[in-house]
């Protein structure tokens, strides 16, 4: 089973793009989707049940979609600042199996207070969905899990 986690605060304008993207993902067999305001340790359970996990999050610093592998790391604390690496570290700490994990960073314009996506973020949604489909299909070179590469 693959797990895709969309992260974001919908009251912080483009910050909600990760959740918008996973909301538009087409269901498929073997795909579990989570849409969350922020990462929390409760996600350890679905993560350890997954063969692969993909985090989808807004990033004001990047100019293009970026798909990269992430690994457990003790960064970011366990509160509002918990990131994918920290969550995977959490999973490791409680003895959970950590799957092959990826982060899709979506370029956005603003994370100021407000509802709705900017035109830039809206345009990125379509491209992100295509990228996720490729990830799910393992159709792009370099996207297969480390064990299979």
């Amino acid at each position: 089973m693959d797990l895709v986690i969309g992260i974001g605060n919908r009251l912080r304008s483009d910050d909600g793009v990760g959740r918008e993207i996973v909301d538009r993902l087409s269901p498929r067999v073997g795909l579990n989707i989570e849409s969350v305001h922020q990462l929390v340790p409760d996600l350890v359970e679905p993560i350890e049940q997954a063969r692969r996990v993909l985090f989808v999050d807004a990033d004001v610093r990047c100019r293009d979609l970026q798909l990269q592998r992430v690994r457990p790391s003790a960064v970011g604390g366990v509160g509002h600042t918990l990131g994918p690496e920290g969550l995977l570290h959490w999973a490791e700490a409680v003895g959970a199996a950590v799957p092959d994990a990826w982060l899709l960073s979506v370029p956005v314009k603003t994370v100021d207070i407000g509802e709705g996506l900017s035109d830039e973020a809206e345009r990125a949604v379509g491209a992100a969905l295509e990228r996720i489909d490729e990830w799910l299909d393992e159709a792009v070179e370099g996207l297969r899990s480390e064990e299979e590469v």
């Binding site: 340790p41 350890v44 359970e45 366990v78 570290h89 700490a93 409680v94 003895g95 959970a96």
Partner: protein
Amino acid sequence: MEKQIHIEPVTRIEGHAKISVFLDDAGDVRDAQFHVTELRGFEKFCEGRTLWEMPGLTARICGICPVSHILASAKTCDAILAVRIPETAELLRRLMNLGQMVQSHALSFFYLSAPDFLLGWDTDPATRNVVGLAMKDADLARKGIRLRAFGQEIIDRLGGKRIHPAWAVPGGVNRPLSEENRAWIRDRLPEALDTTRFTIDLFKETFNTIESREVLGTFDSMYLGLVAPDGTWEHYAGMLRWVDQARNPVVEAHDPTKYFELIREASEPWTYLKFPFYEPKGYPNGMYRVGPLGRVNVCDRFGTPLADAELEAFRDCQNGQCSGRVFDYHYTRLLEILASLERIERLIDDERIVSPAIRAHAEVNVREGVGIHEAPRGTLIHHYWVDENGIIEKANFIVSTGHNNLAMNRAVQEIAKTYIRKGKVSEGILNRIEGGIRAYDPCLSCSVHAVGHMPLYVDIVDVDGQTVRTLSRE
């Protein structure tokens, strides 16, 4: 020379705060203050909004206890509509509040506080956190995660999401409980009960003497909580009861909608958090405590077998009196998780819980309403005044953390006096002062509606107001 020590921020609580410790000429503690340094002002910007918006609007006060505000607000709106909500709606609201008790108490115990006392107060702060706890006892940490997730999942399955579910509405709730979700809750209950009983046993084994539970100080106060008409622990309805340290009733049963007859709020220039006090005793003598320790001290019984057995064990060492130990907030938090799970079991077994009759409809019938229930951190009060169209003219919130403000200040004073001598301050001492605050599980986001993280600064200021030393921790 008098010195002043500031601790800022206090970590692993919700919101911003700092602590000042005032030393006398000998370097011993003369006084201590718990400052809440930020303000969001929800009471003010609710003015002009419609009654119907209030549950959703006030839920945004906090991401940890939105359920508490939704329910208090919905109850206030019920009063203004002058409706009696369907019995299933009340059962469902109770179910969600119990889910909230479980998740919030589990968060406080396993994520925020257990690292202090299970890893050791003087453990390096870099590892004295929940990940450090997981490194030491992965099984316990995982149990804690799953217990909190269970409470969160109840909220999600009732309200459609875990945070800010717009589910309780004026007149009832907007979605019934499905049989599928009822079955899910029932299936997961045994594990949650096992985890809670395991953790209570662990807690009792670890802190098996009164002395070991006095690490954060002990002092006398009054205690406040809702109780059912027969004195049983209550969390959604009931009457306000105050008891003194000897567990003698100060007020046996007071109509909660007339809270203002007995509770007043004082202000101090050095904090945004008000000081509610028991009016007949004046300020600051009218100090009382709420939350798990308050509720457990005021109730006659939990009304469920497992929790009542544990309550008896808890009270065996009290000689019939209230526990005044700050550390016992943790103990009573566990007892309340157990009681909540047993109550959840009863509710799930009640056939009325899946009835589709969940909402009464009405318009504004009275211009003022009060809604009170027990949030995890203590008694939560919403009070609205509206015009004939249901537009909010004024709102007053007295939140759980506010009730404990006087007591938190007292706790800091007691710990500081024990651990700061001749002006000597160490990291371990600061941790205990923070621990004293954290035991109350204060939600400053709720109490003053502050946001953000908590740094830690200690300023030592001499009698002339000059800072002679500053320590800090991010």
